[in-house]
């Protein structure tokens, strides 16, 4: 049982979540493309959480992602998220984009490998911008120089292993990649001043998630009991055929909920 639970979680975080993330990205891309064409894509300052706001591609490490609004753990399941109290990428000011380092497709797994001068291409409702990486920053490194007047800055944020053991499985500390573009789009006024804790780096959601989790676990329990009861009446094959997809669906859902309780950058 333990093996099943732990194994399933591991599998979903590392592989199955990637499938879900791919699917979400496809849907987001279609949506965002439509919005760009129709001119209805958001330009800030306040965007509904979960809406796509930009596409991001980093050729050097092969990242092509749609960035959505919001950086809470749940928001990052579908792809990189934009920190809500910063300007949108490409606008005048500094923008921050968070992405997962090892689970759910791990879009930002390799941002630590970027070097000075690498390109980051961003497309938003206001147009396309090409950023040049200034450098990779970890705890203790000095912040980059003050932003030149009229420039736009982009900070990619993700997790990274602090020790050499299991580097792809223990993204415990935060890594930042600073990039800059010389020209910037205008920024609309009225940006929120602060974001709640769950949306900060390594933030975790709690509170609101608990009832949902209880419900999911309850469902799983009921399913288990149901399967046991059904096995006494029907043949094993029938029970397995009927129950397996339901169990997988509920387990999948439950893991998604559990993910929201875990740090957002892992």
């Amino acid at each position: 049982m333990c093996c099943l639970v732990a194994g399933w979680m591991l599998a979903q975080m590392l592989y199955l979540g990637g499938l879900a993330q791919d699917r979400a990205q496809d849907a987001l891309y279609t949506e965002f493309r439509g919005e760009l064409a129709a001119g209805t894509a958001p330009i800030g300052p306040v965007v509904e959480v979960g809406r796509p706001v930009a596409t991001l591609s980093i050729p050097h490490i092969g990242v092509h992602q749609v960035v959505t609004e919001g950086t809470a753990s749940g928001d990052l399941l579908g792809g990189p998220g934009h920190l809500r109290n910063t300007v949108l990428p490409g606008q005048l000011g500094t923008s921050a984009v968070f992405g997962r380092a090892s689970t759910y497709g791990a879009p930002f797994a390799r941002i630590g490998e970027l070097v000075r001068g690498d390109q980051i291409n961003v497309t938003t409702a206001q147009g396309a911008r090409r950023f040049k990486v200034i450098g990779v920053r970890r705890a203790g490194d000095p912040l980059p120089q003050p932003r030149p007047e009229g420039a736009s800055r982009l900070v990619l944020v993700s997790g990274e292993a602090s020790a050499a053991r299991l580097p792809s499985l223990s993204p415990g500390r935060v890594v930042y990649v600073d990039a800059e573009a010389d020209e910037a789009f205008p920024t609309p006024a009225g940006l929120p001043r602060v974001v709640p804790d769950p949306e900060q780096a390594m933030g975790t959601e709690s509170g609101a998630v608990m009832p949902l989790l209880t419900l999911c676990l309850g469902l799983l329990l009921a399913l288990t009991l149901g399967v046991i009861a059904a096995r006494q009446r029907f043949s094993t094959a029938v029970v397995w055929v009927v129950a397996t997809p339901v169990v997988i669906a509920v387990a999948w859902l439950t893991t998604d909920v559990v993910m929201r309780l875990l740090p957002n950058l892992m």
């Binding site: 049982m1 333990c2 093996c3 732990a6 194994g7 979680m9 591991l10 975080m13 590392l14 920190l83 109290n85 910063t86 300007v87 005048l92 000011g93 500094t94 923008s95 921050a96 090892s102 689970t103 920053r137 970890r138 705890a139 203790g140 490194d141 000095p142 912040l143 980059p144 120089q145 003050p146 932003r147 030149p148 736009s152 800055r153 900070v155 944020v157 997790g159 292993a161 602090s162 299991l166 499985l169 223990s170 993204p171 415990g172 500390r173 935060v174 930042y176 600073d178 920024t187 006024a189 602060v194 804790d197 900060q200 780096a201 390594m202 975790t204 875990l262 740090p263 950058l265 892992m266």
Partner: protein, 872 residues
């Protein structure tokens, strides 16, 4: 018997004379130029005669004495103490003496503020008259009555014209809708600019008397007790508050006290010679009609008006005097609002002296002011505690004023017995108010975890034990302490007071008090002290109320509704206008509901608290609570503050703030709200010009600025003077030393980039990073430093960004003008990235893997053993 009465009267006179001194914080007593003598005291003989069958009979005769504690250098909204003896006892007292609400009384003492002086030798437009006396309602100026009821038409002292059927305006304007057959008497109001307001309907009143005016009525019809004594606080208005009345430092004004004595009658007229319906000392809660002849409505009738006591008053310079009189650019000092009353009086003494500079105090959060002073945005800061230096330049602190916070309040005793003036609070009661643990109303009852708590503090047995005899009406304002919304050393000090008290902290941590009251779960285990009080409760009550359904707002936050300045709190208490935001309102039935501030509290049932500065409280005449210490309750008096100063320990360096330990103050029975305000400035890299100004300011303010008084450059009450000798000597010495240090700019910068140029620019760089951080949330944002800091850096709105940029440039120029104008970006020392890490993120995946592997192996082992056993 008569002799005894007189003895009693003189004794009471003595009491009332010394009362203002006792009410004031010690300072008042010595501030008065000639010892304890009141600023104004006069005795007059009053009488009233009526006519019975053509024969004149004197029915009343008395000597009345009026004393006023302060008449010079007043400021707008300041309250003066007026007391009197020997008046006619008041009957049918109304609960509120103010404005129109005070009219239904008999034999009160009417107190008005009038423009002009009572001096027949002056030009007519400089003299006072009923036409220049301010009243806020039509009823106080215009009487229309049936001829048989028009008591004023039988006034013995009035002229024939005044006794005519119509008097006041000729012809009576059409908008007055005058009834030709009735007697009409109009006292129009003549405004300072010459406009005459007919004042016969509410539309023809001056604009300041409009319905829902910014300030509540100040004029009163105060009561005299059974012995004929009385006391009240009268609020004066300058032309800032009341332009039509127009009193200021150049236009002379008077307070006019008119004892209502009843009309002396010329002939046998029933309406005129009535003696009043109410017994002396009785109340008129139900607003029944009174005998017009003895009512304050007829204050303008000659019989009453001739008995007036005219007290000439002078106003101090208006708050904007320096802006008007001095066209030099001001030098800004930023920070603590505790200084505001002192700076109000100090600034003219700087700007009107060409040898000094133009001093300007900009009030803001202490931390923000300190940051400005540190990074070059301002010359100096006013702070009252030690702040962390974020840049590279050293800062020095010069003690400038000794004052503090207090809990101001306005509470009425039940049964029209006047104001309650002896409030005692302890740390746990303050904690209960701050943590929003009173329910406020039945709406709060549904809050989980505290449904058994009292609705308001006046229903809390702990409070009732300390302050017996108050009412038990439930009101939302009694559930809250109006406090500051922004970061401030005052909030820090107030929460330190809670934090040092064991029983209060145990209660905050979740232990119920002896009466079963529990802390609001949203605030349980909150870490104290804090500089900024957080609003943590998010309980939204479920009701059927349409307005609340349309505006779902956290209820306890609406009750607390903190404001951003201490002055606003003081004025809210002065007006008895709680900032509770629970009033539902809509202009029409089809409009959506809006939530707004509740109404002003009615006099008689006022009950509200707020955190105020001692300077404001003294200026506006607010009552201040005594706070619990180890053995007793200490009021914010000079004695209480001085005791605290004895405990202040100077820093080792000699230019840092004194240590004023809250626990020690409480142990030694000093006033816990004592705070020392410092002028903090850089001792290196401050431009020479600014350095000289700051040094001059410290020198002047700690010498001539510490003389007590109300004049320019003097120290108002609410502050303890810092003197060369006595308990304040160490403060004085440090101030002089720091003034010298700042003037010389000899401090060593802690820069490690080396070279004067580098030091200068390094400073500019710090502006950009830290300044932006402080601007958003008081520099206390614990979030993942690097992201939000970098974010803020650019997200600041454009003007601010540009301002920073300019600042940077000017700093560079000051640093020697050596800046090379090439395109290459100079290197700026940036703070390091803050560490953010999550052990959960680091360990969960390996852990899951481990668990999966071990349990897989374990399961297989178990199965293997099973198989072997079944075979065996």
């Amino acid at each position: 018997m008569k002799q005894r009465m007189r003895l009693l009267a003189t004794a009471l006179l003595g009491v009332t004379v010394t009362l203002p001194a006792a009410v004031g914080i010690g300072g008042t007593a010595t501030a008065a130029a000639d010892g304890d003598a009141p600023a104004y005291s006069q005795t007059k003989h009053l009488d009233r005669t009526i006519s019975v069958q053509g024969q004149e009979i004197e029915i009343d005769s008395r000597d009345m004495t009026v004393t006023v504690d302060r008449t010079t250098q007043l400021r707008g909204r300041e309250r003066v103490n007026i007391s009197w003896t020997g008046a006619h006892p008041t009957g049918g007292r109304s609960s509120s003496p103010f404005g129109e609400k005070g009219l239904l009384q008999e034999y009160p003492v009417v107190i008005l503020q009038c423009r002009g002086l009572d001096d027949p030798s002056l030009a007519p437009d400089k003299q006072l008259a009923p036409e220049t006396c301010w009243t806020s309602s039509r009823a106080q100026r215009t009487q229309v009555a049936d001829d048989s009821e028009a008591a004023w038409r039988h006034d013995k002292y009035a002229s024939d014209a005044q006794r005519a059927q119509k008097f006041g305006l000729d012809p009576i304007p059409a908008e007055c809708n005058d009834v030709a057959t009735f007697s009409t008497r109009i006292t129009p109001f003549r405004a300072a600019n010459g406009t005459v307001y007919a004042s016969c309907t509410s539309e023809t009143m001056p604009p300041e008397a409009a319905v829902g005016a910014a300030f509540p009525p100040a004029e009163q019809a105060a009561f005299s007790d059974l012995e004929g004594n009385g006391h009240t606080k009268f609020e004066v208005r300058s032309d800032v508050e009341n332009e039509s009345l127009g009193c200021n430092d150049t236009v002379a004004c008077s307070i006019v006290v008119i004892p209502i004595q009843g009309i002396s009658c010329l002939d046998d007229d029933a309406a005129c010679s009535r003696g009043g319906q109410f017994e002396a000392g009785s109340n008129n809660f139900s607003s029944q009609g009174v005998d017009l002849t003895a009512s304050p409505t007829l204050w303008w009738s000659e019989s009453n008006w001739r008995n007036r006591f005219s007290i000439p008053i002078t106003f101090g310079l208006p708050p904007d005097a320096c802006t008007v009189l001095d066209d030099r650019a001001p030098t800004g000092f930023y920070g603590s609002e505790l200084m505001s009353q002192a700076s109000l009086q100090w600034s003219p003494s700087f700007c009107l002296d060409k040898k000094r500079f133009k001093f300007q105090h900009n009030k803001m959060a202490d931390a923000a002011g300190f940051t400005l002073a540190e990074n070059g945005g301002g010359a100096a800061a006013f702070v009252s505690s030690k702040h962390t230096v974020k840049g590279t330049d050293p800062m020095a602190y010069a003690p400038t004023a000794v004052t503090g916070f207090s809990i101001g309040y306005v509470i009425d005793r039940p049964g029209n017995a006047g104001e309650f003036t002896d409030l005692k609070l302890n740390a746990r009661l303050v904690a209960k108010l701050l943590t929003q643990s009173y329910l406020g109303s039945e709406l709060g009852r549904g809050h989980p975890g505290m449904s058994a708590n009292p609705v308001g503090i006046n229903l809390d047995p702990e409070f009732q034990k300390l302050n017996p005899g108050l009412d038990t009406i439930t009101r939302e304002a009694a559930a809250t302490l109006l406090s500051l919304s922004e970061s401030s050393d005052v909030v820090q000090s107030l929460t330190e007071y809670i934090a040092q008290d064991r029983s209060a902290m145990e209660w905050v941590k979740g232990k119920a008090d002896p009466w079963g009251m529990k802390v609001n779960p949203s605030y349980r285990k909150i870490k104290l002290p804090v500089a900024e009080w957080p609003l943590l409760d998010d309980y939204v009550p479920t009701t059927n109320d349409e307005c609340r359904q349309q505006n779902p707002t956290p209820y306890f936050t609406q009750l607390a509704a903190p404001v951003n300045s201490i002055r606003k709190i003081a004025e809210a208490i002065l007006d008895a206008w709680p900032n509770v935001q629970t009033r539902c309102d809509r202009s029409a039935v089809t409009d959506p509901w809006k939530i707004g501030r509740v109404d002003r509290q009615g006099v008689g049932t006022r009950f509200m608290f707020g955190v105020v500065s001692m300077g404001d409280a003294e200026r506006l005449g607010l009552d201040q609570a005594s706070l619990a210490t180890r053995s007793g309750y200490v009021a914010p008096t000079t004695a209480g503050l001085t005791k605290a100063l004895r405990l202040a320990e100077p820093s080792k360096e000699g230019d840092e703030p004194f240590t004023l330990d809250m626990a020690q103050m409480v142990r030694k029975n000093a006033y816990p709200g004592t705070m020392i305000v410092y002028t903090a400035a850089r001792t290196a890299n401050l431009p020479e010009e600014d350095a000289a100004k700051v040094a001059q300011f410290i020198e002047v303010s700690t010498t001539e600025g510490q003389r007590e008084g109300y004049g320019n450059g003097e120290l108002p009450p609410g502050y303890v003077p810092i003197k060369k000798a006595g308990v304040t000597a160490p403060l004085w010495k440090q101030a002089q030393a720091v003034a010298k240090e700042i003037g010389e700019q000899s401090g060593a910068t802690s820069t490690d980039t080396g070279g004067g140029d580098g030091g200068g620019t390094g400073d500019g760089g710090a502006v950009d990073g830290d300044g932006a951080g402080a601007g958003t949330s008081g520099a206390s944002d614990p979030g993942p430093g690097s992201v939000s800091e970098v974010g803020d850096n650019g997200t600041g709105d454009e003007p601010a960004d540009q301002g920073d940029g300019e600042d940077e440039k000017s700093t560079d120029d000051r640093a020697g003008g050596k800046k090379v104008k090439d395109e290459e970006q100079e290197l700026v020392a940036m703070p390091p990235t803050t560490e953010v890490s999550s052990p959960v993120a680091e360990r969960i995946l390996p852990l899951l893997l481990l668990v999966a592997l071990i349990s897989a192996i374990g399961a297989n082992l178990v199965r293997l053993r099973h198989l072997r056993r079944s075979r065996g």
